[in-house]
Symmetry: C2
Subunit: 324 residues, 2 copies
């Protein structure tokens, strides 16, 4: 290979950034006859075994690094296990699928308590069992930086729902909580431990796993799990579908604990709802006039154009989100 | 959960060790109706999608940490990519299967050259293409410790071959090189760069991928990939099958470059063959009187008892192996 194609890229991982590097790496991948849906969605869809009897399998992988994605002083080992598993399991739900199989690789410092690693595993097991998935194997290596890589396999009973299918006129709807985990993170970041409801939401998100297959069966045209924040993740849906999305702020539920956190910390609770990630709510688009399934609430509409607006106006500020 | 079951375990990851922690974690896993072969083999075999039409899928995951499993000053990024992919792809071959799908998670320091990450990917891609597998997705995160987690999916066209099926009287045979990568490691560890053949074998092992399905079709009763060394990995086969294995030293080929390294470094080249890992040769057992397929050579016999002997005697020293 030659590096000539890479010469115009920023020259370090820090400069190109995680997303930039993901895009550059993805550009190298070439697919294949058994790659039905490649990189760039919540999970890939592949045919394993080849041929007409090959089974379509969803697969997604994620890596969590201590100090960046979780902190041992903010969460118990079991909490971290729940959280890391939830982030992966919800990627399969966001395709309209159900996770069946989990493998885990753990890089652990020598001074990590054995108990911590086992409790982490228990947390991942308990979260996986919520969807009926089994942890079937993994790897353990010593490293000075505690790192957990999880890969989830799953399957769709019905249609697979990618990110790119939204059409102008479609209804935008969400299932699950928005802003709760971000409110918990805001509280913990300032040294507090309450309101307990939002701290718990940060430690153990409650993704609406079952709503993924429900939305697929109801005809969802596109779907994503909200891990980076509603604005950012709807931005991904809009970009993948070459459409615009307009949110109606009055339809976004701001729950009581978020009002309390907003008041206590001097932040706008609607910003938590719009930008907070890690609750792993599901956001999907449905054809005009579709009956939304129970558990889904309309929050906006798909339009022409591009990007995400709120009440017709561009939202201010960055769309990003810290994941701790 | 309660930690009462864990109280008699060594209290840190360093004290319990990688293998000990893998065993303790594995003891927590409970399987399930769609887990056909759980942890403890080269790969797990699961049914994804459930029900009679569920497809049987092999899955295996491994994590490689810089400074422990690879060194940037000893290998190019492409070499590291080849090596990490090979270690995973050969796990599927060792079940009698063929890998179809690879996902990769990379934790990279901010000062890692972008080019290094892309060349790593190219190496993994090229190695995966040797067996027709596609890289379909992954994750990139920043971390101060360069770490690569790879998960491979695959399938068996014929029977799945686990570790536990060896019977007394079976023939023990190997396919692929033994001791070459260890010789390369020994050379590099002493600051040398030749013989080039063994250094290259360390940097880019050449697992005999196709021999996995070949052995399965020929009736192999048990199989493993030699990643920890022949003695150690046959020890795993012996333990899983509750049998003993006796190797015949005269049947173990000691190639010329290994003789040269042995002479230059003052090590017994047979020790490299017996204890060297990371060539990812395949070791398998076949029923008595079976015609060994081309590419396989008999190196011993399965007997009653337990453990691994060489010419009827217990080998001295530890069975372990450094992986750099």
């Amino acid at each position: 290979m030659s590096g000539s194609r890479h010469e115009d890229l920023p020259d370090s991982v820090g400069a190109i950034g995680e997303r930039g590097l993901i895009e550059a790496v993805t550009a190298l991948l070439s697919g294949g006859p058994d790659v039905l849906l490649g990189p760039g969605d919540d999970a890939a869809l592949v045919r394993v075994g080849g041929g007409a009897d090959g089974r379509e399998v969803l697969v997604s992988t994620d890596m969590a690094v201590e100090g960046r994605h979780f902190r041992r002083d903010w969460s118990t080992a079991e909490d971290v296990g729940h959280r890391i598993a939830a982030a992966n399991l919800s990627d399969v739900a966001a395709m309209g699928g159900t996770a069946t199989t989990v493998v885990v690789a753990i890089a652990a410092p020598g001074d990590l308590p054995t108990r911590w690693a086992l409790d982490l595993t228990q947390g991942m097991l308990a979260e996986s069992q919520l969807v009926g998935a089994s942890i079937v194997g993994g790897d353990v290596v010593e490293s000075d930086r505690l790192t957990v890589a999880v890969t989830v396999l799953g399957a769709c009973a019905g249609p697979v729902v990618g990110r790119g299918g939204a059409e102008p006129g479609d209804v935008v709807a969400v299932a699950g909580r928005l802003g709760w985990a971000a409110a918990g993170l805001a509280v913990l970041s300032r040294g507090f431990r309450s309101p307990r409801a939002v701290v718990d939401a940060h430690r153990r998100p409650e993704p609406p796993y079952a709503q993924g297959p429900v939305a697929a069966a109801a005809g969802a045209t596109a779907m994503i799990d909200v891990s980076d924040g509603l604005l950012a993740d709807l931005g991904h849906l809009a970009a993948a579908g070459s459409v615009g999305i307009d949110l109606t702020s009055s339809s976004l539920e701001v729950a009581e604990p978020l009002l309390a956190v907003g008041a206590a910390l001097g932040v706008d609770p609607l910003e938590l709802v719009l930008r907070g990630g890690d609750d792993h709510a599901l956001a999907a688009t449905f054809p005009p006039g579709a009956d939304l399934p129970a558990g889904w609430r309309q929050v906006g509409l798909v339009a022409g154009g591009e990007g995400v607006t709120v009440d017709g106006a561009a939202p201010g500020g960055a769309l990003g989100h810290r994941h701790y």
